[in-house]
């Protein structure tokens, strides 16, 4: 046995106890269970990935999602905003049932996702639609549009061929791919980026889900089609009273699509609230920095330098103590921000920020 593996073992035990301590504390902090009437409740959600050294030695955890809480009502839209590596994709995949929560709970219609069996997961996936970021990567290149849209129906056990065909046509009409006949036999490479994304949306909608998770649905598209796809998503949301989780890094599309938003940084939720309120009156220094760094097309931009916080987002293996933004924060309070994890402070109606400035 080499020194490395021994070290790794010791580290494992240390980390295990550290992890237990941390999680016990947060569980004690907010004992409330799922909110009544919510479609989706996320409680104290932690998603940690184990790092392994050469395939077996333990080397720590990537704390991708750390203590995230939110509720989503039927027909409500929420945007999750953050930079790459902030944990928004891990959060999304856990909500989709692709990762198991390390700690914490997810409730869907008051049923606990954590203990879903295979069967229940299959049911759950008919209730939740997923719109991927890269439409070309998300569509199998060897299937034509009809086959792509059949797939979810077959898996969901729709046996009647006529019904399948009818539902495929309806889904295509809903995403405004008409004439339907023309598109059914086409393969993904024959479609433009915007059309491919419509097929992805049609596939997500074909089982009439109650919740749609859209992961950067327009970031791979050209400027002139982006808005078209966003409008389509909004129309579908209104027509079916869908709950939507819209994941994006682009603040300028958020207002346009959702009512509520939450901002994530280094695995944690730092601020959430109603979109207009949050964008016009951001409280957390990180949100303020994001807004200050986003430009609108204006020739005056070339005349000035933008304020950008120094440094880069921290490693999620050993995140900074206290507030994770403190090493980059201009309003940092010594002996507080670097020691204590800030709790959720109420800073306005329905507007909460995790920042010691509002203690």
């Amino acid at each position: 046995m080499t020194q490395t593996t021994v070290d790794a073992k010791i580290e494992t035990n240390k980390l295990q106890t550290k992890m237990d301590e941390h999680i016990e504390r947060t569980e004690g902090a907010s004992p409330d269970r799922h909110a009544q009437g919510a479609l989706l409740s996320v409680r104290n959600l932690h998603v940690w990935f184990e790092l392994r050294r050469f395939g077996f030695g333990h080397a720590g955890y990537v704390r991708a999602v750390d203590d995230v809480n939110f509720d989503l009502k039927v027909g409500e839209t929420i945007a999750i905003v953050g930079e790459s590596g902030c944990g928004k994709s891990s959060l999304m995949k856990t909500i989709l049932g692709l990762h198991r929560p390390t700690q914490g709970e997810i409730f869907f219609e008051n049923r606990r996702l954590n203990d879903f069996s295979r069967k229940e997961l299959q049911w759950y996936r008919t209730q939740v639609g997923y719109v991927q970021q890269d439409p070309y990567g998300a569509l199998p290149p060897f299937m034509n549009v009809r086959r792509i849209l059949q797939e979810p129906l077959i898996i969901a056990g729709v046996k009647d061929l006529a019904e399948r065909e009818a539902r495929i046509r309806k889904a295509l009409e809903e995403v405004k791919m008409s004439p339907v006949e023309e598109f059914l036999p086409k393969f993904p490479h024959m479609l433009s980026g915007g059309q491919q994304q419509r097929i992805v949306i049609a596939r997500a909608m074909i089982l009439n889900p109650k919740l749609l998770v859209a992961d950067e649905p327009v970031s791979m598209l050209d400027a002139s089609v982006r808005v078209e796809i966003l409008r389509l998503l909004r129309a579908l949301q209104e027509a079916h009273n869908l709950a939507v989780i819209y994941i994006t890094h682009d603040l300028s599309t958020v207002r346009y699509f959702s009512k509520r938003m939450m901002v994530m940084y280094a695995g944690q939720m730092v601020e959430q609230g109603e979109v207009n309120e949050l964008l016009s009156n951001p409280k957390h220094p990180y949100t303020q920095a994001l807004i200050a760094a986003t430009s609108d097309p204006d020739a005056a931009n070339a005349m000035k330098f933008r304020d950008v916080p120094p440094g880069e987002p921290p490693s999620l293996v050993r995140p900074p103590s206290g507030c994770r933004f403190h090493p980059r924060c201009a309003q940092f309070i010594a002996d507080l921000c670097d020691r204590e994890i800030p709790p959720d402070f109420e800073v306005g109606s329905g507007h909460r920020a995790r920042c010691w400035l509002y203690r």
């Binding site: 400027a223 300028s252 760094a293």
Partner: protein, 339 residues
Amino acid sequence: MANRSSINSTLLQVSELVLHFRTSKGVVQAVDGVNFTLNANEAVVIIGESGCGKSSLAKAILRLLPRNVHRYAGKTFLYGLDIMALSDEEFRRTIRWNRIAMVPQAAMNALNPVTRVGDQVAEPLMIHQGMKKARALEKAVEMFRLVGVPEDFVYRYAFELSGGMRQRVALAMALVTSPDLIILDEPTSALDVLTQANIMNQLKRIKKEMGMSFILITHDIATSSELADRVAVMYAGQIVEVGDAQRFFQEPLHPYAQKLMASVPRLRETKDPDFIVGQPPSLINPPAGCRFADRCHRRFERCAEEPPTVEQDGRLVKCWLYIEDGVNQGDADYSRRQD
């Protein structure tokens, strides 16, 4: 050559540049008769959507051509010298990287994984200027400082750096030979908002301090405004409008440019953005006449003919609306509709 501060302020003049590719489906007219000029210490932004030929334009200027070139013609003048007339070897020795450098698209993912990044930045100096390695490395460190990469990163490998840092290294590679012109192809499109703002700040500083000129190729209109002195809008292989950035962002002239500007979601305005119906034409058999006509909200009979490029209050626009004997005063109409 000591003519960087020459009396002639025109740095680059591109005239009737054509680059067509041969493919199994036919000839792709990626760049089709492009004209523009660039002054010293100026940044021109080339805005266009995917497939409009903007990256091919960059390659055509730097003569980095693939094998399937069908037609490559036109003239490119650098300080009045026709660089298209140079032999390949001469161009490589005197122009490429010494006078014009480039940060290609996704450069940050194209760094050599087995060479230290410092060596990669020093390499152009050793190859293009015959500098000794030790001296070249010193220069590389200087460049790292300039683009905001910690100095000790010269000994690291690409995989040890974050995306933003790798993009800066790619920028340092273009800067290190102090060229007159740097072509940036989508320099920030894969980066996060804060990193993006940071790199744009860096570029502004370099432009100011080193008096460098830039051609910035991008589809991101909001970010392009961070650096632009002038804007050129490209559509289906052609430039449809070139003009001063100030006026372009206030009031674009070409209907495509107007629609494109209206499709940008804005953070500080609540107005709903618009979109353009349809999709750009194939460049294999582009329509005769105006290439935007099919999607244009102001199309009329004359658009079936190819529009000439005309000057409209100091800007160049390729559209029949601005021809005197046409349905003229297009721009008056536009401002009326804006009210």
